[in-house]
Amino acid sequence: MADYLLQVEDLTVKFGGLTAVNRFNIAVQRGTIHALIGPNGAGKSTTFNCISRFYQPTTGRILLDGVDVTNMPASRMAGLGVARTFQNLELFGELTVFENVMIGAHVHAGKTWGDALSACPASVVDHVERLLERTGLSAYRNACARNLDFGHQKLLELARALAIRPRLLLLDEPAAGLRNREIAALDALLTDLCNREGITILLVEHVMQLVMAISHKVTVLNFGTKIAEGTPEEVRNDSSVIEAYLGQEMINA
Amino acid sequence: MKCTATRIFWGAALLAAGLAHASSAGAQEPGLTEKTIKIGMFSPLSGANMAYGLDVVNAAKMYYNKINKDGGVHGRQIELVIEDDRCNANDLVSAVKKLVEQDQVFMLNGGSCSAAAVAAKDYVVRSKIPWVMLNASADGALYPPTDYIFGAFSISQYAVGGSVVDFGKQHLKAKKIGYINHDDAYGAWNLEAAQETAKQLGVELAVESINANITDVTAPLIKLRAANPDTIAITTYAKPAALIIKKAYELGITKPIVLTVTGTANLSQLVENVGSKDALKNFYVQDVLADVPGGPKIKWVYDMYKESYPDLAAKPDHPQAYMPYGIAPAMSVVKALTDAGPNPTREKVAEVLRNQKFDSGVMAGPIEFGPNDRAAQESTIYLKFDGSQQTLIPGSFKSLWKYKG
């Protein structure tokens, strides 16, 4: 039996009369990169926000490592080893790069009132410094986050998410807005995280180049329902997927 | 950064040191030399309440100037240090402390705001400095009596509230009086006396306490109308008073209305604000001056003001209504200094003040202190006002409230 870190069962989300996601199932295998794709408005982000507990599903269950987290508040997810990034960058703009990542390490800085008031354990600071070094942000350590260029901001968001030391990393369109050469670097980074550190990654993405290159498995959503699932190869050749995307392109055209 | 910070803080330190210039050592009594005597004055000279203070200080100042011109007190010229207290407790205390500790005044003559003035009480008593207030009632600082604090030169609020009930009972033959007061310190004091007097005279009171910032006075008036009193006494400030009188007219209330001195600042403006002389058909005002503003008994005060402050007198609304209230306190100070002899001490002046009694000629009654009495002025007169004419009502109307130590 496969070892699933994340299972979503029968997820349905309704906004007023609109059904954004309808009886959707997905299971993410531990130690893999799993992509969630689909045309605009397919319900990817909604699903994603349900998993990270920012939205409350109408019905359905979310299991993390077999534990039901459907009613868990969003702020508890980090403590359970779930980290996420945001589609439209949500950095702590006025704070320094270092502080941004330190806040990522929030859940590792102790729980008691004493911990809350005392300086951070050295081990945590060390970890943050190492992350900065790894992501090449050390030089910008004391810069305000909002002053970084877009590429660095994306990188900082990733570093901040990694400071949680996640088991499951949820990435919302990590490649959006990046240039080709930057996407290639991201490709390398994500593969590295998965392979070397065993972090399970679920990403929502529009950039097929990235999805097809690194995903172990791809799930395709359209109009809130799953229309296909499989390896990148399988999905690419799935007729319903092609149809869905063609429709989209015709609308866009 | 460091450099600037350092500069700022040394700057601040120097400033503090500058503020703290050494006191004139040597003299036994502070603020006293062979040729001069220093008196500290404070009052609201700015902001919302400067109407209660600015010209009151000016009146006292011109009186002191006149004394100086006539040779001073025992050959000493009076020197004034004047501070703005903003009618606010914190600022009043800092003004008093500056006058006492930095300017080293001999005694204090200040305070136009009652609640704020009470804040300086303990400090003044601990420092043993004679303090003659200006026009503040400040009954909270006068009861229980202390050795150093003397006030209520315009009128004690305990006198205001009790007297108006006595007037209602005696002159207007009221069995039930509708009583509108403020929810502040003034109102609390005059209500206490009103209730005590009403109890002793067997008059029923229907009380409505309102905030000074009230915009709609319908509700309290409708309630009073339902209580059906024989007369209505208003002890509010000028603005709510005008609103109440106007609204009473609109609501068809025809019972006699008595307005206490708290709201009588400018009667001609009151007529304009009420909008109709008909509203004042059955209307009485309480006053504490010896005469109507500008009347023969106190004309000299207004003349002196015009002469001393021609620029101010040219402004609209000047002199401010409370201007003459500044004379009696200044007289009290001068008289106390005179009576304390050529070598006054703070203790001697305080002692003289405790037994002081004189007629200012400006206020309705004598300025009089006694063993348990630190309120200078407790007499009022009543006038019938029809919108243009004021007619004096004969008789004396007294508060029956007594301080129960």
Partner: protein, 300 residues
Amino acid sequence: MTLEVAFLFLQQGVASGLIIGSVYALLALAIVVIFKTSEVPNFSQGEMVMAAAYIALYLLVFRSLPLWIVMPATILLAFAGAALFRRLILNQVARANGSPVNLVIATLGLSYVLRGFVRQTGFGDTPRSFPPVIEPESILIGQASVTTLDLVILATAIIVMAAFFWMFKYTKIGRAMRAVGMNPKAAQLVGVDLTRIHMIVWGLSGAISAVAALLISPKVLMTADMGSIVTLGFAAAIVGGFTSLPGAVVGGFLIGIIENLVGLFVASRAIVLAPFLAIMLVLVIRPQGLFGGRVEIKKV
């Protein structure tokens, strides 16, 4: 209290509430118009009313000009003054790029300046009034007594509200204002001149202040501190939802009625407390006010 008296109280409370409420409604409209487009709660709104009232007083009483000149002149001056403040002062504050609260502090500064200035003229101390726009005569509605002036104020509040409602909805400039309120950057991209819109909005708010001043000064009396009445305008705006024009008017009426009913049925000294209790109650039950749009859940 007998039932009869209670009924009388109720009638009078509602009638007086509607009338004083229309004063609050006018003030609330002036506040909301600015807040809708620039998200600045204008702390000097009350002083703008006060300043307009003193301009009118000066022209009417001390220059003895007739009312038909004084009214437009006051409104025009208030419009110009407010628009200039926006253009000369607030523009620079906004450009200086601090925290949004800086704009609020700047309006607070203006309120001090205006008050200090009126006091300097010597007028500010004695409560004053000028002849009302129409002679008030008492009329009975049911058992409730009101005056003709009250009815004019009430009608004006509703007309001003309707006019603004219409302007925001149907005129080009009104649509531009709404666009600026929703998304200033996008509005700029489609060619809206932000500076001009802000100036006009402030000018209009100044003009409403002047209308309010002309109507209510004889009713509530003028002092340099009469601006504090705007607290009740704020209360009305909050209860109504702070961005809604009808909300401002309904909020004004509600605050007025609550004040009167509390005064009649609870205690006169509780009148000043009533608006604040109303604010808290409304916000706890409906955090966005009665007519405020739904608080948006941030899309992530």
